[in-house]
């Protein structure tokens, strides 16, 4: 555990020593707040109005944007995780230290997840306080939604980190990670088009369904936690396999 924490601390320090974390904060936080207040969520079967138009003291619109915005935010946080180690050659040193591959992967995953959670909290809490000042906000819904967002971020981080391990360069890692996560987000859009038996399976497979239909609405469902737990485990396991394969192939 100590070694995982050492990797985690180094990754966090590296994130804040480069402009990457600040750029992500500067773009993500105002963008999501702006969409919440002014645009609403015009995607899906029932479009949701923005706060000013809808006039409801709810953060549902804010949470609704998360699966799509995270599809680009999380790959921005993971793109350097492996590609940069490979470019600089530090990966070679790292794996000659007495560390298990799984420990390195876990440390990197936790760092990305913590950063994503930090960004999420930095977006949701100021907006929630503002809305609470304007109307009667149900804080229990906010906390459940925030928790759901954290879990969603964990699933996305595991997938994006895995894609980053496959990519040779940071930009490729970002683009491929964004493409994969955007594809997972878009699965829900196909639900209305496909025959019912396919649609049901697709809806269950889409990460967004396990957030938007439950914790984003203030409902905590154990099945969603199991779903994201499995997504994280499979993502990290594949990540370990990818790294190990590189050490076999050379």
């Amino acid at each position: 555990m100590k070694r995982i924490l050492a990797i985690l601390a180094r990754e966090l320090r590296a994130a804040f020593e480069s402009p990457m974390a600040y750029v992500a904060i500067a773009i993500y936080v105002p963008l999501q707040a702006g969409l919440f207040f002014f645009l609403g969520y015009p995607v899906g079967r029932v479009p949701l109005p923005g706060l000013w138009e809808g006039g409801q003291a709810s953060l549902l619109v804010l949470f609704a944007w998360m699966p799509l915005l995270f599809a680009f935010l999380v790959p921005a946080l993971t793109m350097g995780a492996w590609a940069e180690e490979r470019r600089s050659g530090t990966e070679e040193l790292l794996f000659t230290y007495p560390l298990r591959t799984s420990e390195v992967v876990a440390g990197k995953f936790l760092a990305v997840w913590l950063l994503a959670c930090l960004l999420l909290a930095a977006t949701v809490l100021p907006v929630a306080i503002t809305v609470d000042g304007l109307g009667d906000l149900d804080w229990a819904t906010v906390w459940v939604g925030l928790l759901g967002g954290f879990v969603l971020a964990a699933g996305y981080a595991a997938v994006a980190l895995c894609v980053s391990a496959l990519a040779a360069e940071q930009l490729v890692a970002f683009l491929c990670g964004g493409l994969v996560l955007a594809g997972l987000w878009a699965m829900r859009l196909l639900v209305g088009i496909l025959p019912a038996r396919f649609a049901r399976g697709l809806e269950y497979a889409a990460p967004g369904s396990h957030f938007l239909d439950s914790s984003a609405r203030g409902v905590l469902d154990l099945r969603d936690l199991v779903y994201f737990g499995l997504l994280v485990c499979v993502g990290l396991w594949i990540n370990v396999l990818v790294i190990e394969r590189k050490r076999w192939v050379g």
């Binding site: 050659g89 070679e92 794996f95 050379g250």
Partner: protein, 338 residues
């Protein structure tokens, strides 16, 4: 059978043991059945032409790459066994390109390496202070690595290999690209370290190996083609190919070359160089120097040439290196073109 070089503990079990190492990259066989042992206290030079498989072998010795076949043990623990983390903890490694986390401060980077290598907080503080002092990095400890010159970055690379005071050091071209002052500093540091540690040193600088290494391993086309103390390798080469003689003459070049080649016992005229004062320096390979030298002396008197120097030249590392790698390089070039 080779004798143990100075510094090595001949009675102790080997600290590094590699056997039957093989590694392929696609169709290319980078390392082909390499095996050797290094005992406690040895400083072993690891040589080979570019593409010989040195770096790949080092990557397998340090546990970064997994061999296709064969095995590596460090201090008795196999790198592919349950004790692999303990085995890796015994090794300090400086890779060829000196990869470092550029954005980190030197002291924080060393503390990070100490932490992932299992040092407690208090032990880390001491280890960083000791390593910084040993590598003459005191003034630069709080500087970010990206701001350091190549020589100091190399020292940081060495410092990370030393931070847990491992018993084995694997150094891949530690003086590559450095200025002469830094080369001497790093070489002195390696020599100092060799008093307490077992070191495998890869380099292209043959004089460096002659100066500091008690034993030499030479790799060519992925195979180990020589292993032993330099004196033994030289003696073996002389027994096979003949002894070296150096003759410095005041004579016409073409006439002298032809006449020397015709002297009974001269096997080849290897090199001819001309000094600023017009003297010609011939390097010869002869069957028996005590018989050939008087014949050369007689030849010079008969032709009225001046002999400035006539001496035996033992097999240098350069000669050993060229002789041992020549055949395999030719073979691998032929295979590549086939």
């Amino acid at each position: 059978m080779t004798t143990s070089p100075p510094g090595a503990d001949a009675t102790s079990p080997p600290v590094i043991r590699a056997s039957g190492l093989e590694k392929r990259y696609g169709d290319v066989r980078a390392v082909d059945g390499v095996g050797f042992e290094v005992r406690r206290g040895e400083l072993v030079g690891f040589l080979g032409p570019n593409g010989a498989g040195k770096t790949t072998t080092m990557k397998m010795l340090t546990g970064y790459l997994y061999p296709d076949s064969g095995e590596v043990s460090i201090g008795g623990e196999r790198l592919d066994g349950p004790g692999r983390l303990a085995a890796r903890a015994r090794i300090g490694y400086l890779p060829e390109r000196t990869p470092l986390y550029e954005g980190m401060r030197v002291d924080r980077y060393l503390a990070f390496v100490g932490e992932v290598r299992g040092l407690s907080r208090a032990a880390r503080r001491d280890a960083v202070a000791r390593t910084v002092a040993a590598c003459d990095l005191d003034e630069y400890a709080t500087r970010r690595i990206r701001t350091l010159s190549k020589g100091y970055r190399q020292r940081v690379g060495l410092a990370q290999a030393l931070v847990t005071d491992p018993e084995v050091l694997v150094l891949d071209e530690p003086t590559s690209g450095l200025d002469p002052v830094e080369i001497v500093r790093i070489r002195d540091l390696v020599t100092r370290l060799s008093e307490q540690k077992t070191i495998l040193l890869s380099t292209h600088v043959l004089s460096e190996v002659e100066e500091v290494c008690g034993r030499v391993l030479i790799l060519a086309a992925g195979r180990l083609v020589a292993d032993g103390p330099l004196l033994e390798l030289g003696a073996a080469l002389e027994a096979e190919e003949g002894e070296g003689l150096v003759v410095v003459l005041g004579a016409p070049e073409e006439e002298a070359r032809e006449a020397l080649a015709a002297v009974p016992g001269v096997r080849s005229v290897d090199r001819v160089s001309r000094s600023g004062s017009g003297r010609l320096r011939f390097a010869l390979t002869v069957s028996e120097r005590f018989e050939v030298a008087p014949r050369i002396d007689e030849l010079a008197h008969a032709r009225n040439w001046t002999v400035f120097e006539l001496r035996h030249e033992g097999a240098t590392l350069e000669r050993v290196f060229l002789a041992r790698t020549r055949g395999l390089l030719r073979r691998s070039a032929t295979e590549a073109s086939a």
